[in-house]
Symmetry: C2
Subunit: 501 residues, 2 copies
Amino acid sequence: MKLKVKLLEVEQGRNEVVLNEFEAKEATIDIGDRIKIKRNAKSAVAMVDYSHKFIKRGEVGMFVEIAEALGAKNGEALDVSLTDRPKSLDFVRRKIDGKALSNDETFQLVDDMMHQKLSDAELASWIAAITTRGMSPHETSSLTNAIYSSGEVMTWKKKPVVSEHSIGGVSGDRVSMLIVPIIASLGITIPKTASKAISSGCATADVMEVLAPVALSMKKIHEVVDKTNGCMVWGGSVNLAVADDIMIKLRMPLRLDPRGLVLSSIIAKKKAEGAQYVLLDIPVGRGAKVTDMEEARSMAHEFKSQSLHVGINFDCVITDGSKPMMKHIGPVLEARAVLEALQNKGHVALVEKACLMSGMLLRMVRNVSAGKGYKLAKEQVASGAAEKKFREIIAAQGGNPKVQPEGLKIGEYSSVVESNMEGKVSHIDNVNTARITRALGSPGDKGAGIVFDVEKGQEISKGDVLFKIFSSSKPKVDFAFEEAKRWPIVEVERIIMEVIR
Amino acid sequence: MKLKVKLLEVEQGRNEVVLNEFEAKEATIDIGDRIKIKRNAKSAVAMVDYSHKFIKRGEVGMFVEIAEALGAKNGEALDVSLTDRPKSLDFVRRKIDGKALSNDETFQLVDDMMHQKLSDAELASWIAAITTRGMSPHETSSLTNAIYSSGEVMTWKKKPVVSEHSIGGVSGDRVSMLIVPIIASLGITIPKTASKAISSGCATADVMEVLAPVALSMKKIHEVVDKTNGCMVWGGSVNLAVADDIMIKLRMPLRLDPRGLVLSSIIAKKKAEGAQYVLLDIPVGRGAKVTDMEEARSMAHEFKSQSLHVGINFDCVITDGSKPMMKHIGPVLEARAVLEALQNKGHVALVEKACLMSGMLLRMVRNVSAGKGYKLAKEQVASGAAEKKFREIIAAQGGNPKVQPEGLKIGEYSSVVESNMEGKVSHIDNVNTARITRALGSPGDKGAGIVFDVEKGQEISKGDVLFKIFSSSKPKVDFAFEEAKRWPIVEVERIIMEVIR
């Protein structure tokens, strides 16, 4: 049938057109049916939604994406016809029914997802099915390759190429920002694409952004790495493994992290980064993403075997994820800490973890033991070579290489949270730390953050300061102070639990 | 924050607002997050979508449903803030994880679905989880009650109240249109709400609509039933078990029919109809919804036990669903057949099935055997009492009680499909019958349809007419003729398969 375009001036991010409900029903076109719209040599397939009032008979409501793709103008009459549903819908159905998908089926599904041929509801059903049915190693490899192939790929002249990644969940875990300059200073290529905070309070890209631009073009990233051996850029500014970003959005509302998706997501991203050797950090403990040691071990083994299937080497390290990595949390506070650590001014835990992990990376690519590698890494920090490299990378990315910790400003408003009892600090919670950091305005407000006055295990008195909070906004400090009562960051247990007389 | 309303002039059927992508990201508001919009004493919660161009900073794009609910005007500044995600999302997650939901959780989930607090993707995940995890009898009862409570409920003065339902899939199965007048003529209340065709070629409400209006108000339906003991109306015109309609839409793209949803859907609808005793028809066979006898039996037993949990009695009958019920398919053709059957002018199979089922219904509510009930039903048809009652119901619903079969006009365009080989008719396919009936324009075109010239098992020669097709549109006849080659309705097998000499 011929329908007149009614332009709907908003992007919908979805591949939908709107038909008049009564007219569509008469033509037995249902919500979610696929229709083909033709305009000269161009055509687009979109899913149908209904309007009973605002789209009149004879009209087709068109969001800007489709209109732009077709070059369609308001009021123009176009040919619209029902078309078959995509075959990949049958694959989703088969996965729901508990059957494994073949390599071709997985590629087709990801391709249809990339071309917006499936609705969010249909894709969410697929992800729910993966969660309940699991994925075989073969399916996981297929999905990894399909995700890898969905975006751009980085290639590096200077081999070997190494990378490092944490499955996350630990506040203040900025080891990447030490590992990259340490490894790069030893002449090894390490192009790090980092994320910005999604559920965390602030992530590596947010902290690096304090020191230098992180949203670089593909070309610029290659220039930086060719010059310095390393980089710390935001992965969101380049189109690596784009299918993964779509799937992560779909996983968020229900927080679905089935093993097969976690594996394929991380391995595909690292492969697209051009990495040949990857060290994966799996933090374990209360408040971390993985709480059970056995689970962490089985995850590590799956990463090792799955990564080999798609041609990269993963080693894994299980670390303590039960508390924040640093006493300073927030973009500026963490950037300061990283600089100070590289200047040999404290932050021992951060330096130790970074050097241990660097040692393990060196074991993978140099003919050394992890212990020898650790010593090499420590020397790079102690000698100032790592700091020098760090400043080179900052300069190459467009930041100020002369930056000093004290030159970075934290939020002007602050407040203090005190203990209302005496006792021993029994737990510092990563999840609530992230929550309060966000409440303070991080990562948008670079100066927002938390400084802890206590450590786990420390004995304290009533009225002692537990932590200070900072923000560039007074209302946010007040809000976060209240939130911190609801979501306690520091747990204190009484030394004497009960007295019996 | 304060945002200015930008009215988006289209209904979205979804509970969404659109924010400027950059502004939202700065405020760490993600796609799918819930925000609360306040206007004077009113407030609404909606899910966030992004626009990077058409919604500017400082604006909130608002589809008409939410704007109308708030009374919001274009350009008006309203207070917008992040709010918690609904608790029922955790219940969806738990179902995905394989845990059973409690009665309260199920009610909360259905309630949040009714109030559009969950996105289609979230609801689709729930349905996928039900499909893969199954539902316990307890969960199924909870869902049945929750669906039942989600809409209006019919109440009837004159008890007992009976009903009849087929799980469907058989073309030309119009037994309801005989059972209702037979039972009603015996003084028993039988308020039938029927469906219009969704995937079938034409359904009971489409056929009844040829004879009388079927989209009646609740008040009007009560008048019709109080007067005549029966009715045949479209369920879509009254708000019975509304949650079921939402769930059916979500099930359609992936054709998900998990047992627990089929049970709760049908039982809830029947309970909302006010039925105390229900006879359920489960057609079985090639081309039907259920193809396996064992599956039909287990389904029947589950219907019996589940229905008792929510306080109605189901009896089930398993019938032959391997071929169409009549030789005449399409709204007008079937309406004619029903009238002729009630006038004792042929259509023996239809009359027999209707009387056998009526007998089983009478066994449930009168102190008679099914055999005695069958005889009672046959008498009502033979004596003309059923026809008289049928015309009373037509009149009460607002149709012409004097209607005669020959007064109903079929499509003026037609074509003939012939056999291209000699042999025996081995199968007449329900699915392809429905497909071609729709291709001819049914149910919108009342005169569209198929008349079979052959029966299953009949021996035919090459060139014999298999069936005729009718439509009010010449292009549709041509299109259906071509489609019938792709999707064969009548299968013929050679009598002599092979000769060995």
